[in-house]
């Protein structure tokens, strides 16, 4: 079966094919005219939840929020069957990763696609309620999603007895009030419950005991938006969307910002090279500058270099190069910009956004900021670089309660590796080795 999108006759950009910013989002009738909600009708008529889960597993759809975890595998842990009781599906729409602006596009310009996708995921999990956890600043998205949910409810796509089936699925928008850590899925659940957004210990995993102690799945906006298209067109078609040579499936919303000539966000085959994204779509570097370094997918990914531009932007390839695909939204640094300053900015962000629950993160991140500020001013001490290196290990994976601090260390450790001379240039010439009393290096909180 194939469906032809009016605005993208090739149907190679399924998630954005109906998006035309000049026109704005389609209302329900407009979306239905493009076979909108056709996939939801399909699954409810013909695809039992286990079969739908198997389809998504076969598609090899991986989480587009940053971690790249296979969606079908995540779903597989959720209990099914008549006795499973209340279950929740949460859409993680707390897009706050520095340099990332893709979910905003999908929610502002195609709200019905996300609602249909949530209903499909809800059916696959037999969830009883869904929440779109939307960051508080996205007021346009909130307004459009709420209007679209109202239209969808009136047509029986969500609410009681969806499309006349025995299954009911309530869907609501829940808006946040700031704080990056809300994007961490267990912190998000705490925030949804009206608590401070501290992460929770795992296990138990949210699939077993999540929101209000019930089985819960948290999926990113872009991840979910793939679902209707996989259902309508099948796994082979979906896998065929990727760039030649990639082992991943589908398309990806890529972006480029920072010192790019024409920053933006584009849906492209997954595995498109970073060079194509930067040079073809983003028009290269601004003001004729040269590329110095780039973050492949957000502030919590390791810096890569110009020599990595020909790598395919997919999960495996970027990981092998020593970084992470993350959100797939590149940030580019020009050759006249300071890496020490860029890393200082990133660590200021992570220090401010730490939830404060565990000590290495709460105290270690401001410490790194203090060291980086000194180096940026040319007032660094001779052992500051070594100390920064130690911090990348003390705040690394396994040392903290969640992945906030390890993520924060990724740009720092890669900058130290690739641009050590820039850090060394920040050490004050007269700085002599000094004995340091125990505890004397502990920082005051920044600012």
């Amino acid at each position: 079966m194939s469906v032809r999108g009016a605005r993208d006759p090739e149907y190679r950009r399924p998630l954005t094919r109906l998006i035309d910013r000049a026109v704005g989002p389609l209302d329900r009738a407009g979306y239905e005219a493009e076979n909108g909600y056709g996939a939801l009708r399909d699954v409810i008529a013909r695809l039992e939840p286990p079969a739908l889960q198997a389809l998504i597993k076969d598609s090899n759809l991986r989480g587009r929020g940053g971690a790249g975890f296979p969606t079908g595998v995540k779903w597989g842990l959720i209990p099914l069957g008549p006795d499973a009781g209340t279950k929740y599906l949460i859409c993680n729409a707390d897009e706050m990763e520095p340099g990332t602006f893709k979910d905003r596009l999908l929610m502002e310009q195609a709200p019905h696609q996300l609602i249909e996708a949530m209903a499909i995921a809800g059916w696959a999990l037999q969830a009883t309620s869904g929440y779109i956890f939307l960051r508080g600043e996205y007021v346009v998205a909130a307004e459009r999603l709420n209007r679209a949910i109202g239209e969808a409810r009136a047509a029986g796509y969500v609410g009681k007895n969806v499309l006349g089936s025995p299954w009911s699925f309530e869907l609501r928008v829940h808006t946040g009030a700031g704080r990056y850590i809300c994007g961490e899925e267990t912190a998000l659940i705490n925030s949804l419950e009206g608590r401070r957004a501290n992460p929770r210990a795992k296990p138990p995993f949210p699939q077993i005991a999540g929101a209000w102690g019930r089985p819960t799945i948290v999926n990113n906006v872009e991840t979910l938006c793939n679902l209707p298209h996989i259902v309508l067109n099948g796994v082979d078609w979906y896998k065929g969307l990727r760039a030649p040579g990639s082992n991943d499936s589908g398309t990806k919303l890529y972006g480029c910002s920072g010192r790019a000539a024409k920053p933006g966000c584009w849906e492209l085959p997954i595995g498109t090279t970073a060079r194509e994204i930067l040079e073809v779509h983003a028009g290269g570097m601004k003001d004729g500058r040269k590329l110095k370094a780039w973050l492949p997918g957000g502030g919590s990914t390791d810096f890569l270099l110009p020599q990595h531009l020909d790598l395919a932007m997919d999960y495996e390839t970027i990981q092998k190069a020593g970084s992470r695909l993350g959100t797939g939204m590149m940030t580019v640094v020009a050759d006249d910009q300071s890496i020490v300053s860029a890393v200082r900015n990133l660590e200021e962000f992570f220090a401010r956004e730490s939830c404060g629950l565990c000590t290495p993160c709460r105290d270690g991140l401001p410490w790194s900021v203090k060291l980086l500020r000194a180096l940026e001013r040319g007032e660094g001490r001779h052992d500051d670089i070594e100390l920064l290196g130690k911090l990348t290990r003390w705040l690394g994976p396994g040392m903290t309660f969640c992945l906030h601090a390890p993520g924060a260390m990724e740009p720092l450790q890669s900058a130290l590796k690739h641009f050590r001379a820039e850090f060394e240039a920040g050490v004050a010439p007269q700085a002599q080795p000094q004995p340091r009393a125990v505890g004397a290096g502990l920082p005051a909180m920044q600012r």
């Binding site: 340099g99 600043e137 609501r172 700031g178 704080r179 608590r195 910002s257 939204m329 860029a342 939830c355």
Partner: protein, 171 residues
Amino acid sequence: MSESIVRFVDAGDAPVFVLSDEERAEILHEVAHYPDPRAASIEALKIIQKHRGWVSDDAIVVAAPLLGISAAELEGVATFYSLIFRRPVGRHVIKVCDSISCHLTGYEALRDALIERLGIGYGQTTHDGRFTLLPICCLGACDRGACLLIDDDLHGPLTPEQVADALEPYR
């Protein structure tokens, strides 16, 4: 210490803080959407803030019972989230994105232009009560960096020279 004594002595004359019928109705409407009323905590704080500009200690004490939690618990929520204001703010709140893409597109010059023009730093309000200035993390508008929010409106890309014009409509 002295502050609490003063407040105790004055309590007889001080107006008792009450939520308006509208605020109360809006909060209870939100509470109905969740299996546990406390899930509406953030929304309740946002409702109070929408009506009053900020969330006072008294408002916390009065709102907490509607959410089935103690004032201390609601205080814990209110102080965690950066978009909940615990002090009075100006008529318009400027939030300057200071994350990496805006750093690379010159937000620091934009921030400095705002500080100079308004004569205030982060966390402060102009004497005429018109503007409060705050930093904010990535606004998800990196293709429009350097950018900022004035109330709910996104502005960007902005140069320091464009600051005056951007502020003009906000009286």
